[in-house]
Every structure is written in structure tokens, then in C-alpha cells.
Assembly symmetry: C2
Homo-oligomer: 213 residues x 2
């Protein structure tokens, strides 16, 4: 399914949609029927006007004075975010971060299924890793021919990252979740999200160094 109207949606909007969904799921679980833009804005640290603007992109949901229908909006946001799909994921780098992620509850809850684990270290190749066996990264392009892979999770050191990414893109994988603390260069049609812990740490360090007291 495609949503022609959503092509130009900014990353920051998508992030807020994720946040709205999180709270709507909670409300839905507790049986609440409607939610106001005020309540959503408060929970997601934004303004009611921003909530209304974000949600208006995707059709008319709220009725003035009645708020948004929680269950209907939850279903629609899951659809918009593509969470009904079973995304097939490979993890590149059989270390702690990859392992933490594979066991991360939210990963499976959102339909992300690990179908392969790769490493270049001969000591790791062939080892059992959850239900999978660690395979040689050199085999990834051939494997992608016989099994659909939607997303590659990159949990390797920075030095290797660009080289591995080039191979991943060449193999036809279109989305990358990057844990290497480096900026990756990819063609514009490839979706990349970087979780950069070093950068978050430096942001805290900056805040502590430059705080008012």
C-alpha cells in the first residue's frame, strides 16, 4: 500500500506520529474511547496545534470538542507507519548491541523479524546466536538473492561501516539501522536511521559543562 500524500512528510513528523501511537496504544489498552489534542500534546511534549496539524495530513479524525477516537486513530497510525508488515531484518555484527536489539521486546512487537546474523570475524562465524547461526558477511549478497531482506541493522565499528554499507546497498537492501558512530553515505533512495550513542553522550557532556549553575 502506498500513501501518495505522505511522501513529503518530515522525519520530525514521523517521530511525533510514533509518540502519539505509543500513548494511544496505552489509552486503547486501558479502554479509553477518546483523547483530546491537549492530552496528546502534553504527553508528547508538543502543542495541541502541532498535534492537529500532524494528524490532519492523514485525513480528518477528531471532531471539534469530542477529541480523537483512540482505537480508530491507533489502527490508522499503525497502518501509516507500516507496522502491519512483517519486516525481515539481518543483523550485521554479532556483538552485544546486536544481541540486545534482537532480544528487545519492542523489536518483535513492531513486526521486525531477525532472519540472519552476519559477522566478518572467523571466531564468530558458525556460532549459534539465538535461533540463528552467525554467517560470513561475504555471503550476504548471495543470501539476499534467495531470501527477502528489508532492513540491515549495522552494529559494527565505525572503521568498517561505510565499506559494509556499500555491500549492503549493492545487495539490494533498502533500509539501514546504523549503530556505528559515523555518518554513512548512501544513495538517496536508501532509508538510514542512525542511533548514535556517542553523540547523545556528548550532548549530555555539553549540557553538564555549560549548565547555568
Amino acid at each position: 500500500m502506498t500513501h501518495p500524500t505522505t511522501k513529503r512528510i518530515a522525519d520530525s513528523t514521523v517521530r511525533r506520529l510514533s509518540m502519539y501511537l505509543r500513548y494511544l496504544e496505552e489509552l486503547d489498552g486501558s479502554g479509553q474511547a477518546t483523547a483530546s489534542s491537549d492530552a496528546l500534546a502534553h504527553l508528547c511534549l508538543t502543542t495541541p496545534a502541532q498535534v492537529r496539524k500532524d494528524l490532519s495530513f492523514f485525513g480528518s479524525f477528531g471532531k471539534r470538542g469530542l477529541g480523537y477516537p483512540v482505537h480508530e486513530l491507533t489502527v490508522r497510525l499503525r497502518e501509516i507507519l507500516g507496522l502491519g508488515h512483517a519486516w525481515q531484518v539481518v543483523i550485521v555484527g554479532a556483538g552485544k548491541i546486536g544481541s540486545a536489539l534482537a532480544e528487545y521486546r519492542g523489536f518483535r512487537q513492531r513486526g521486525f523479524q531477525v532472519v540472519g546474523v552476519y559477522d566478518k570475524n572467523p571466531d564468530k562465524i558458525g556460532r549459534a546466536w539465538g535461533d540463528a547461526t552467525v554467517r560470513d558477511i561475504a555471503q550476504l549478497p548471495a543470501d539476499v538473492q534467495s531470501q527477502r531482506v528489508d532492513i540491515a541493522v549495522l552494529a559494527i565499528p565505525s572503521d568498517d561501516a561505510q565499506d559494509v554499507v556499500d555491500r549492503i546497498v549493492e545487495a539490494g537492501i533498502r533500509a539501514i539501522l546504523n549503530f556505528a558512530p559515523t555518518q554513512l553515505h548512501v544513495p538517496s533512495q536508501i532509508a538510514v536511521k542512525t542511533v548514535n550513542m556517542a553523540m547523545e553522550l556528548e550532548g549530555l557532556s555539553f549540557a553538564l559543562t555549560n549548565r547555568a549553575d
Copy 2:
């Protein structure tokens, strides 16, 4: 040391400073003496004008036509980001994510030192965890009285997160690195960085669902 001029620097600027630093460190390590704003912009996926604007906040570095002095700028950026300090960190939640982070090379490289690990699970309390022993989260406020703690890393489920954060803030800790996939509510003087893997995954899911082909 305080930098009065840097109080109003946006988060996005701090993130770019982190990126510039990463590349400058690489260049410095390979013995390169100068770097142009064009080169820094290319490596950090921004524009030369943005690089010049970001760096002009912190004094005059570049000489027109000569580029930035790599070593001098590296030293200055590390100082601006507070990376000369030895930040004392506690990890709250003795699970996989906390463990991956504690062993993360970039964590120690940037001067972050784990001085305590906490959990509320009686099965985990008292266990050895690297060089530390897992302590009861209830003991955190008393521990902070006898040992300085700069940063708390929150690696616990969303349901517990706000309650634990309230206790952390009450104990006097001023900076939080949050891995719980939820928005935390804290007083404005507390620095919070959230690494939200669920949100990054949903961003990829959205991109795959709404891509052009």
C-alpha cells in the same frame, strides 16, 4: 569552566559539533594539518556555510583560503563538549542494553566512567556485573550523598521509567541518558537525551511503506 556564549546553542548544533569532532580526530590521527569547511561539510552531510556558522560561535578558527587548523580545532571542540571531564555514571537497569553500553568503547573514550549499577529485581541485586556489584535501586539516593554521580543511564522498561526518573532527579542527578521508549517529564534544568530504538524502527518502517517504488 563555563562558556557564557554557548548557553543558547541548539541541540542540532551540538550534534554537528560532535560530528565535526569525529572527523577532525580522524584527520588529526592521520597527521593532516588543515581542513576546509567544504571537506567538513561533505563528511558531515551539511553545507560549508553551516560549518562556518557553527564554528564561528566559538571564536575565529579558520583563515580564509587556508582552512581550519585540525589539531587546534580538535582540542577546542573537546573542551567545548566537556570531554576533558571524568563524568561519573550510574546505570539503572542491569540488562543487556546497560551491559552493551558499559562495554561500549566510545563510552570510556569520552570520559564516562561507570561507578554503579542498580536494579529493582531481587534476582539481580548482589550479582557481579563487570567490576561492579548490582545494588538495590532504593539505595541510589543514599549512595549519591557519598559519591558524586553526574549522569544516570536509564535502561529499564517504559512502565517504570517515569517513577525511576523522579527518584533520580530527587537524588540530585542532573543528566539522564534514556533508553526507555517513552518521553520523560523532568524539570527544565535536567538534561535528558533519549535513544529511542522503537522510534527509529518505526521511521524505517514508514520509509519502507511509503517509498516511491
